[in-house]
């Protein structure tokens, strides 16, 4: 199988796999077959929809991990940057609110640590390479 064909079907395949895992997790929690099927269907439809729209829509192509050109890569990087900054703020706020509320803030601390490590790792990696 060619690499291009493989990458075209990678996102739908991952989507289907995630859908199956979600359905299995729901069934494991004694949810009804209908609920599990719906959960799988939503994720699978999203993944399949992206694949079908990939050749017609540049946005769908980007969401499938295949930006059509450098401008779309730039758009993707900026959008990711905004999303990452927002997540960082939300994580800090969630950590503080939970901490002051007496709740368990460990999940937020872990997520924050992963975020910070990934960011610093990225900084070091690209600083070294560029």
């Amino acid at each position: 199988m060619k690499t291009e064909t493989l990458s075209k079907w990678l996102v739908p395949a991952v989507g289907f796999a995630i859908g199956l895992l979600m359905a299995a997790a729901l069934l494991g929690q004694h949810a009804s077959l209908w609920q599990a099927g719906l959960s799988f269907g939503i994720v699978a439809a999203y993944a399949l929809g992206l694949r079908l729209l990939q050749s017609r829509s540049e946005t769908a192509s980007l969401l499938s991990g295949m930006p059509v050109d450098e401008r779309w890569e730039s758009i993707n990087n900026r959008a990711l940057s905004i999303a990452a900054q927002l997540i960082a703020v939300v994580l800090v706020l969630a950590f503080l609110v939970t901490q002051f509320g007496g709740g368990d803030s460990t999940p937020y601390a872990w997520l924050g640590a992963v975020f910070a490590t990934a960011y610093l790792g990225g900084l070091i990696w690209y600083r070294w390479r560029q």
């Binding site: 540049e58 050109d69 401008r71 779309w72």
Partner: protein, 67 residues
């Protein structure tokens, strides 16, 4: 930055889609470059210059009004 991409393209009677095909980018990207909303990378700027048979600085130049 300003550029002469639209003028050069129209001189050759090419559509944005035609130029996009030659440069392997989307038509919207050509439009964004022509209107100055997107500044192309150096490799793409070089490809544009090469396509029109011009030096990059003939196609892309500083916005003198902005200074």
């Amino acid at each position: 930055m300003q550029n002469e991409v639209r003028k050069l393209r129209e001189d050759l009677a090419l559509s944005q889609g035609d130029l996009a095909k030659h440069l392997s980018v989307s038509r919207q990207t050509v439009n964004a470059i022509e209107t100055g909303r997107y500044l192309p990378s150096l490799p793409l700027a070089l490809a544009i210059g090469r396509f029109f048979g011009r030096a990059v600085e003939e196609v892309f130049h500083e916005d003198r009004n902005a200074q």
